[in-house]
């Protein structure tokens, strides 16, 4: 029997904080969704759409997603290496420094200290905090792996290591800037170069923060939840290496039809389409791991979250490449279609997998049973319905917007003025705002269920909890 004393306290703390930041992200998302249809909800100067939207994305990406990955990586790395964390002290420091960074980020964004670069709005002093955070996290994870007691490294560990180096490279290059004062800097790159660097960063933040970490989580928690191993190890290897190789070529698909040189756009388009293969490698690996286990979709709520999560990953990685094709991009880019796409990834793929992992892990590390499977199911449906309404309403709005923007009269003039197209979108923006409320309700059910689990869940004998 394994007697290792794992550090679960740090996992617990990161889970709690990440959920808090997740609620902030969704709350701000709901507020800015309503601002688009009710401009009087903008309270200048601090609470305007322009300042709140970066807070929404940063709280979602850095607070909720990365916060959860800190928790889950620390959990997985100990289990997969069969040893406690390399440094508990460093992890504890990281927890408090993480929260300090997120708070500093939130405050400065509301004050208007922003670089304007999407998903990299934080000004240089907070950039430095992020770098420190990532370095100590990377050291702790890497050293734990180096000193592991289980020789082969499981798939999740590959994705974790790739994440560490990927984020480091992306963040450092895109952060290159010249400070003017404590909270103001200018980019080291100008114009078209700046745009190309920014979207190399922007798209690969999706790779290294919103793809490889949730895949690490998926590859660990799916077998844990179903009790059967991953279908093909060889497929995992091919999917892993081709994914991390191909992703970095695709950033310029955000810049199709801009002044960025055509050959970069063409490479980005080609590699985006090629990315379908490694993405679906993981999707198929997930589906085929369910062979003979599909009944668990009915009787194991964790599997429902995970399989729907990987399904949305599959849909996301088909829709994404289609948007990266020049002709379709010409039509759909800059419309509301894109937030529909992004939210399928964020609310569908990433968050559903995170919910599953947290539902699995919280009872385990507290030595209790989940308080209510019924409430977990309710959360599942609220999340699924909220996400689908969000994405579908934005896809329809985007198609409508695109059709109207491009529509020409027989004499070659534009059929619609901008405002004529704008007012047609309002009903869809209303629907999207309501979808956010549904998703938020799901989050509250999630939190209530976890709280009651910790307070009142049936206890599980300590030994069973440790080895399960």
């Amino acid at each position: 029997m394994d007697k290792t004393e794992y550090n679960y306290a740090i996992v617990r703390s990161f889970v709690n904080w990440s959920i808090l930041w997740g609620v902030v992200a969704v709350l701000v998302g709901v507020l800015i969704a309503f601002q688009l249809v009710m401009p009087e909800l903008n309270f200048a100067p601090f609470l305007t759409y322009g300042r709140l939207r970066p807070l929404h994305t940063n709280a979602g990406i850095f607070g909720w997603a990365i916060g959860s990955f800190f928790a889950l990586f620390y959990y997985m790395v100990q289990r997969l290496c069969r040893r406690p964390l390399w440094s508990d002290g460093l992890a504890k420091f990281q927890l408090w420094f993480f929260n300090a960074t997120i708070i500093a980020a939130a405050v400065t964004l509301l004050l208007g200290y922003s670089t304007s670069k999407e998903y990299h709005e934080l000004e240089w002093p907070i950039d430095i905090m992020v770098v420190i955070l990532w370095v100590i996290f990377s050291i702790n994870i890497t050293m734990t792996i180096v000193k592991r007691r289980e020789e082969p490294m499981y798939i999740s560990l590959w994705y974790m290591l790739a994440t560490l180096v990927g984020v480091a490279v992306l963040y450092l290059v895109n952060a290159a800037e010249v400070p003017v004062s404590l909270f103001k800097s200018y980019s080291a790159f100008a114009g078209t170069n700046d745009a190309n660097v920014q979207w190399w960063f922007g798209h690969n933040a999706v790779a290294m923060v919103l793809t490889t970490p949730p895949l690490a989580v998926f590859y660990y928690f799916l077998p844990k939840s179903t009790g059967v191993p991953i279908y093909s190890h060889r497929l995992s290897i091919i999917a892993f290496w081709s994914l991390i190789f191909m992703y970095l070529w695709t950033g310029a698909h955000h810049l199709l039809w801009t002044p960025v040189p055509d050959w970069i756009q063409t490479l980005a388009m080609a590699f985006s389409v090629m990315l379908i293969a490694p993405s679906w490698g993981s999707v198929f690996n997930g589906y085929l791991s369910m062979k003979g286990q599909w009944h668990q979709m009915r009787d194991n709520y964790l599997v429902k979250f995970l399989i729907l999560g990987i399904t949305f990953y599959g849909l996301q990685t088909l829709q994404g490449p289609s948007q990266a094709v020049r002709s379709f991009s010409a039509f759909i880019h800059y419309t509301e279609w894109i937030p529909g796409h992004v939210h399928m990834g964020a609310m569908g793929w990433v968050s559903l997998v995170l919910f599953a992992a947290i539902y699995y892990l919280v009872p385990k590390i507290h030595g209790r049973q989940l308080y209510s499977i019924g409430l977990a199911n309710l959360h599942f449906w609220l999340a699924l319905i909220g996400q689908l309404i969000n994405s579908v309403s934005m896809w329809i709005a985007g198609l409508l917007q695109a059709s109207m923007w491009h529509s020409l009269n027989p004499d070659g003039s534009l059929t619609y003025t901008f405002m004529e197209t704008q007012v047609e979108i309002y009903p869809y923006w209303w629907i999207r705002a309501i979808s956010g409320v549904i998703y938020l309700a799901g989050m509250l059910v999630f939190i209530y269920n976890l709280y009651m689990t910790v307070q009142k869940g049936e206890t599980v004998p300590a030994a069973a909890a440790q080895t399960a």
Binding site: Q35, L36, P39, E40, A44, P45, T48, G50, G112, S114, T115, K117, T142, M153, L161, L164, V165, G166, V169, V180, K184, Y186, S187, F189, A190, G191, T192, D194, A195, N196, Q198, W200, I244, F245, L248, W249, G251, T258, P259, P261, L267, F271, A330, Y334, T335, E336, W405, H406, L408, N409, D411, G412, S413, L414, T417, F418, M419, Q422, V423, Y426
Partner: protein
Amino acid sequence: MIWEKNPVLLLVLATGAILVGTIITMVLPFAWVNTEADSIASVKPYTPLELAGRDVYIREGCNNCHTQTVRPLVADVLRYGDYSKSGEFVYDRPHLWGSRRSGPDLARVGGKYPDEWHYQHMQDPAGFVPGSNMPAYAFLSNNSIDPEYTRKKMEVLNFPYTDVQITGLTGKTEMDAIIAYMQKLGSDIPWREAVAAEIVGELVNPYAGVDHATMEAWEHLYEENCAACHGEHFEGDIGPELDGASLEENDLFEIIYNGVPESGMPPYSSLGADKVWKIVNFVKYYNIGEDHQ
């Protein structure tokens, strides 16, 4: 496999895999972009006031709703103006191309409207443009520009400036600055002259003798496109009062279709001849024979 048992080797290999695409699509392009080949001589750096305005634009996150790149697509060029060229952005640190048009593209907004239009619009966009959902930025008028801080910014960016320009910032507000920036956008190249529509053949009013009830249906065209400057009842405000009786149909058409750049009147050719004719008839005949308040 060996890398599955060696985390350091895995890290090295993963870094290599990541760097290939990075070097080819991110590092290499520096040899193509912002070079002699794509430079445009008429493109000038920002003045201190424009730069201060640009920083207000960044602070308020305007790029979350407004793009600044016109694509070489028919509808984009018709709606916004000449497509964007790489050489126009060499002084942009950071770029502000944006990713979504929850508001219109602004790459060519410079010179489109007179300053006064922008002052009134920023004050209360939703009240100024019917149906707009843009937040109000009236508070910018209360914030003054710091001349010395702006000088420091000019130094960091290595932009040329004069002391007169810096002292001239005294008393300027953030509203003045952002409007100066708006007027600079896209106007370094002489694209307006290049794309000005030319009217060929004889102008014939297709709606001659139209009745009052028909014109009423066109009122929204006037409200959306003209009322902000010429007043809801033709009384004038930013633009002159409109006296239908003294204007010839064909002259009115030309003024609206091509604009009068010297006076701040924008061209409305992108509406198409049909809508412009409707507006011409509405302006000229709507209030004749009726008490129009």
